[in-house]
């Protein structure tokens, strides 16, 4: 039965910057997803997508990512805050797909070197999420002073994040299961 499929949650690592501290944050969230029965987390590193700059939109879709997103039940976006906004490559990835997002929930994790933990990048992503058809949840994860959250090997130093991610995932998974049922069973007309 379709409802027996694991809940698939890609975690999008939203920057290509070398030395990015968003990487251990994205790996942490992916690992927490995969600890839960009935879920399948998959880390999507946008640095590995071969992003093109000669066109925009559906013309530059990555076919494998499209297939993953089509089957996804929810998304997590891990976004560092650059100049109070989101990274350009992340926006390019977001703009390259549409039907893959409709009526699916998204959880947002902000990352910053400062104290606000990407609060501004999360706020700036909200209208984009709405427009592409993703449904936002009311839990975020804010990685503040991220350089102090993980060691040089990417190991978590502050276990409080596990509890925060637990709440975040509880809500995201509830929405994922609810909207999956809706997408599969409730017609529009």
């Amino acid at each position: 039965m379709g409802s027996d499929r694991p809940v698939l949650i890609p975690v999008i690592l939203g920057t290509t910057r070398k030395g990015r501290m968003s990487a251990p944050a994205a790996r942490l969230i992916t690992d927490e997803i995969n600890k839960r029965a009935g879920l399948r987390g998959e880390l999507i590193d946008i640095a590995e997508l071969g992003l093109r700059t000669d066109d925009v939109g559906a013309a530059v879709q990555n076919p494998e990512l499209s297939d993953t997103l089509k089957r996804a039940d929810a998304l997590v976006i891990v976004a560092p805050e650059y100049n109070h906004g989101y990274p350009g490559p992340l926006k390019q990835v977001l703009d390259s797909y549409l039907k893959e997002y409709i009526h699916k929930p998204v959880g947002l994790a902000g990352v910053s070197a400062g104290s606000f933990g990407g609060t501004r990048v999360i706020q700036n992503l909200l209208p984009v999420m709405r427009e592409v058809g993703l449904v936002t949840i009311f839990w975020d994860v804010n990685f503040s002073k991220v350089q102090d959250v993980f060691d040089d090997d990417g190991k978590l130093l502050d276990e409080a994040y596990v509890k925060r991610i637990d709440k975040f995932l509880n809500e995201l998974v509830w929405m994922a299961r609810t909207l999956r049922y809706g997408r599969e069973n409730i017609p529009l007309d």
Partner: protein, 62 residues
């Protein structure tokens, strides 16, 4: 619309307003909506997603 893999009838669960992608498509915009509609479908078995763009003003729309 049938799922390409499962061949089951997919569930049409959303109509998303989108901008026309070409001048021709723009001529098909329903003036009442001010947008092209992308009808989104989901397979109840595998969960895959497909869509079709609907431009009522275009002669080829069926």
């Amino acid at each position: 619309m049938k799922c390409r893999e499962c061949q089951l009838e997919m569930n049409h669960h959303a109509d998303k307003p989108v901008d026309p992608a070409s001048a021709e498509e723009a001529r098909g915009v329903d003036p009442a909506l001010g947008a092209i509609v992308e009808a989104v479908h989901c397979c109840p078995e595998c969960g895959s997603t497909e869509s079709e763009r609907i431009a009522p003003g275009l002669a080829t729309h069926g």
